[in-house]
């Protein structure tokens, strides 16, 4: 009966939640975005350093459930080194997949596991909130550049 849950809470997800990668307040950040889920209190603060259109460094701080924290951690590993446009595309693909829509999985790495969250409608926001923060941070960065 916990089969669907096992598909979502795989060992790699539990590992990222327990040992988040790229955790910290990036001192060299060129933009940052704080997001908060008022219904559960999950918080993600994402910090990006963009150099010549490329995300050279990325870190986050936050607190919340396994899904939200693992999602932020996985996001940082996937996004580091990508161009802003590549990152925006990946963010859109992740959000679409998490909501059960068709989208390419290429480039998302282990983050793809979290798109299983589509089977748990009340938890989709936990997985997507950090990707939404990424998108906002990049859009802000692009606005400032323009």
């Amino acid at each position: 009966m916990l089969h669907d849950l096992r598909e979502l809470y795989q060992a790699v997800i539990l590992d990222h939640a327990a040992h988040p990668r790229n955790q910290g307040k990036l001192a060299t950040a060129t933009s940052d975005q704080l997001v908060h889920n008022p219904s559960c209190g999950d918080t993600i603060h994402l910090y990006l350093q963009v150099i010549q259109g490329r995300i050279a460094a990325i870190e986050f701080t936050g607190s919340g459930c396994t899904i939200s924290q693992a999602s932020a951690s996985l996001l940082t590993t996937v996004i580091k080194g990508k161009t802003m446009q590549e990152a925006l595309t990946l963010a859109d693909h992740f959000s679409a997949l998490a909501m059960g829509q068709a989208a390419p999985k290429a480039g998302l790495g282990d983050a793809v596991i979290l798109t299983q969250v589509m089977q748990f409608p009340t938890r989709i926001k936990c997985a997507t909130i950090s990707w939404w923060a990424l998108k906002q941070a990049i859009l802000t960065e692009q606005e400032e550049e323009a």
């Binding site: 009966m1 809470y9 209190g41 459930c65 396994t66 748990f120």
Partner: protein, 400 residues
Amino acid sequence: MRRSDFPELTRRIGDQPLTYLDSAATSLMPTPVLKVLQAFYATNYANVHRSVSTLGYEATNRYEEARQQVARWLHAGSDEIIFTAGCTDSLNLVAATWGRQHLHAGDEVVVSIMEHHSSLLPWQQLALQVGAKLRFIQLTPAGTLDLEQARTLFNAHTKVLVLTQVSNVLGCENPVGQLAKWAHAVGAIAVIDGAQAVPHLAVNVAALDCDFYAFSGHKLLAPTGIGVLYGKRVLLQQLPPYRYGGEMIADVSCETASWADGVQKFEAGTPNIIGAIGLAAALTYLTKIGWQRIWQHDQVLLQDLATRLAAIPGVTLYGSGPRYGVISFNLAGVHPHDLATVLDQLGVEVRAGHHCAEPLVHALGTESTVRASVFLYNDQTDCDRLISGIKTAKEFFHVT
């Protein structure tokens, strides 16, 4: 107790039977109440207080009988019972009418840290608008209200005490009567949120000597969208209307208007007639089973849960007994939302989060908790399934 009266208990969550432990959010409706609603819609449905028709007369009688029933149950007069859209609406009504009239710059509102947002926010926002100050009653280390500290908060500037009778997170009963006395001693009024108290305690507004008392029907087996505000007669007479519309007037001209006497002044527009009928039916049902029997049943289940939860390594219980209706806890190493998701997969429905009481949850040193709540239809099997679900979650998340 009477599980067979509650049809929703026969449904399944996925492939699992339902264990409903979220009555503090909303209670289930028994067949006798559903039948009254159906019969009213099918045979008595009409607007109230307007028509000279037989149907209008009958509907008005039923609606007013519901008011009288609520009044008797709370030990109030029926001219002190306002039907509202819910407890939130009731509490907003007091701040928007009495509060707007009486709260000024420099005044103080004594409010407990335990308040639900619906009790805190109307006064917080009004205080911000008029330049008044909120003074919070804090917690003792045991998780009860700090009465010694509370006593120091009342002074000549205090205009109102805002207090929940039973915390929707901790389940503890606050000494409403005592605090209302302190409020009255400095000329303040006492506004009491009874949302979590009414299903689990005998409420006598006359004995509590509170000035306003609010609750919702849907935590008492009635439909959503119906609530009650009790207000002392002498206070209600002095209040301005809450909203404007039909049936709350005495006389209207193009330029001006005067207001209806009594509680109708506060019930603009077509009220939630079916909600009031449903609330009356729910009170009839609960009274027939016997309140003492229900309270005792809930106490036994909660005490059992408290003992068994405390025995699970890694479980932190919040507050201390006796608890009324709810018990909140956390499991070390598992976020409340992850635990609630596992329990849901096992058919056990609980609430996880800050329970619309963020200041309290932060005062408890956490961001969120899991909350299980019981009512008359829960039984030992429900407790067993919660405890076994927590153990399953520990295994699932490899927590020792």
